[in-house]
């Protein structure tokens, strides 16, 4: 696996991620794609309850949430995490990129909503470029910028 081409000016911080995804096949591929670009995948689980426990237990920078989970909605978990773990950036990974879904996710405190696609580029971009958040009056909306990579810099070898 070739490492992704990265803008020399951008420093990719070591990111840690928890993946919450109910489809085992998708979960496995997401984990593989993230590890391939050097992301530290701390846990990959299914369901709202296990997802919450994994985030609280491993304290990642970012959590990738499937929008529909067997025991609830991704946005519900997002809302709980925004309240309990405001440092964790939530990226909602959705099959339905409708205005309603976007609004629900962003209102719940997600930093980005990503459309589920065959290639993981957009998701990797969102994980790597998600700005760090810091606690404050607007909760999940308090952020501070970090060095980012350009979307075109995230390229996996086979795609």
């Amino acid at each position: 696996m070739q490492t992704p081409r990265v803008d020399p000016r951008a420093v990719v911080p070591a990111r840690s991620v928890v993946v919450v995804e109910d489809d085992a096949l998708v979960r496995e591929q997401l984990v593989a794609a993230m590890r391939a670009v050097g992301i530290d995948v701390r846990a990959a689980v299914s369901g709202v309850v296990r997802g919450y426990d994994a985030v609280v237990g491993t304290d990642p920078d970012v959590v990738v949430l499937d929008d529909r989970l067997p025991d609830g909605l991704g946005v519900d978990l997002c809302r709980r995490l925004a309240a309990d773990r405001p440092d964790v950036r939530v990226v909602v990974h959705t099959s339905a990129m409708t205005t309603t879904e976007q609004r629900a996710a962003l209102d719940a405190g997600a930093v980005a909503v990503v459309s589920k696609n065959v290639r993981p580029d957009a998701l990797l971009h969102a994980v790597l470029c998600s700005p760090r958040q810091f606690p404050g009056r607007a909760g999940a909306w308090k952020i501070t910028p970090v060095r980012s990579v350009h979307p075109s810099d995230v390229r996996t070898k086979q795609a």
Binding site: A96, R103, V111, R119, P131, R137, A138, W141, R147, Q158
Partner: protein, 490 residues
């Protein structure tokens, strides 16, 4: 006595002849023929034929009075088809014919043309001399008149002729009355049957447009109309048009009532059709949602999962041609997923990533950091988040990008503080730097920085907001940009 023979000179020309018996038998035969028919139209034409035979005249006609007191119908015998066609329009009841209408008593004339009331004949009208006319009274009401002209042999019509015709007219009146009743009964039965079929159609489970079609078809039988259809009036309302061909009798009061009732039934059928269509639409929408949910829950997920797995297989492929092929297949899969999503959710576009506003602000700030040489501090104060689809955030990001670029180009600043405040009714952006202060007005309009300021002011104006750039007390400049939250157009 001149031209008039108004039936007081009976005794003078009453000449019972040897053929009296034959004529009486003729009268009986004529009466039988007239009464043998059932429908009004057949009765009327039989009266005309019988009268012509009985009185041995060349021409015979029967005029039926309309509501306006003129002739509404005119049946005739003796004229050949070509002549009748040449004459065109049938008489309405003026001249001599009008005389009988205005004074419904038997009238006998030696010569039509000599009477003062005569208006003469139209061109192509065959010459007629002798004339006899007798009213037909049905239940104390003048139904119409029988007219005979040109007695064969050239002589005038006699008092005996008049008696025979009066007798025939009396009998004809009874036949007309019966025929009217019969016609009315037939129509009533037809109305009732049509009405029953309409009710049955309304209650049936047939498709709504089929019901409407049946109701409209039955409407034609209901009032014996030639055309029944739906139309729209100027206000877009539905109108039932019920028509008879020109020349046919207009709808009478009774039929108007029937049409009113019928229009209510059509309204019912229409309402039912619309309700059905609505239910069908609702059912389709629900079905669409169910399919969309299934697609979302199962199909897209599996397609994405399988596609990702295929993508993952790339690492085992070493041949460059193999990679090219794999990439092409992945493109197809990607397009399929995107198409499915667009189809299911009716999306205009399918963006890969949608960032929250703070994330986008952070990204803009991060871009600027490379030019500034330091990372500005960002403070967010959000009480109400901008609605999805609002254009205000887009403008805010544009202004922020411009403001930071200006600071990087002109201000020689060591630090920048960015503040974004989102309230229920407005957003505020402040960009404060510790540099050399705002540019001179004169230069502002000529440099690229000046264009930037104009642009920021225009964005604010377009949204109904405000823009200012002031010198700080401690040096440097503070830019303030605000816009109402609901935004303006664009």
């Amino acid at each position: 006595m001149g031209w008039s023979c108004r039936t007081t000179d009976r005794t003078t020309d009453w000449t019972p002849g040897l053929d009296a018996g034959r004529r009486l038998r003729g009268l009986v035969a004529a009466n039988l023929a007239v009464t043998a028919n059932l429908t009004l139209r057949e009765v009327l034409s039989q009266i005309v034929e019988s009268a012509r035979d009985l009185l041995d005249s060349t021409y015979a006609a029967l005029g039926v009075l309309g509501d306006d007191g003129r002739l509404a119908q005119f049946l005739h015998a003796g004229l050949d088809g070509d002549t009748a066609a040449l004459l065109g329009e049938l008489p309405r009841g003026h001249g001599i014919l009008g005389l009988l209408i205005d004074d419904p008593r038997p009238l006998r004339l030696h010569d039509l043309g000599e009477h003062p009331a005569s208006r003469g004949f139209p061109a192509d009208h065959p010459p007629m001399r002798s004339f006899i006319g007798v009213p037909i009274r049905v239940r104390d009401e003048v139904f119409g008149n029988i007219y005979l002209t040109d007695k064969r042999g050239g002589g005038p019509f006699t008092a005996e002729d008049e008696d025979l015709l009066v007798a025939l007219a009396a009998n004809a009146a009874v036949a007309v009355d019966h025929a009217r009743l019969h016609d009315e009964t037939t129509r009533a039965r037809r109305r009732e049957q049509a009405s029953t079929r309409i009710t049955t159609a309304l209650l049936s489970e047939a498709a709504s447009d089929e019901v409407l079609r049946m109701v409209l078809a039955e409407g034609r039988l209901l009032v014996d109309a030639d055309d029944v259809h739906l139309d729209r009036d100027a206000d877009g309302g539905d109108v039932v048009v019920v028509r008879r061909h020109p020349g046919r009798a207009p709808f009478d009061a009774h039929e108007q009532e029937t049409i009113d009732r019928f229009s209510e039934q059509v309204a019912l059928a229409l309402g039912r059709a619309r309700a059905r269509d609505d239910r069908e639409r609702v059912r389709l929408v629900a079905e669409h949602h169910r399919i969309a949910r299934d697609m979302h829950d199962h199909v897209i997920g599996r397609l994405v999962g399988a596609g990702m797995a295929v993508h993952g297989l790339g690492r085992f492929i070493t041949d460059p041609d193999g990679h090219r092929r794999l990439a092409a297949h992945l493109d197809d899969l990607d397009a399929a997923v995107r198409d499915l999503r667009t189809l299911i959710y009716g999306l205009d576009e399918d963006p890969a990533v949608v960032w929250s506003l703070p994330a986008r602000v952070a990204q803009v700030v991060e871009e600027a950091a490379a030019h500034l040489g330091f990372t500005p501090r960002v403070t967010f104060d959000v009480t109400v988040k901008p609605p999805v689809g609002s254009t205000v955030p887009e403008h805010l990001l544009g202004v922020l990008r411009e403001a930071l670029a200006n600071v990087a180009r002109h201000a020689c600043a060591q630090g920048v503080e960015v503040g974004v405040t989102c309230g229920a009714d407005r957003v505020d952006l402040t960009v404060a730097d510790d540099g050399t202060g705002p540019p001179q007005q004169r230069r502002a309009t000529t440099t690229s920085g000046g264009h930037g300021l104009t642009n920021m002011a225009e964005r604010a104006a377009a949204l109904g907001g405000a823009f200012s750039l002031c010198r700080n007390a401690s040096g440097g400049a503070t830019l303030h940009w605000t816009a109402p939250m609901d935004g303006g157009p664009g």
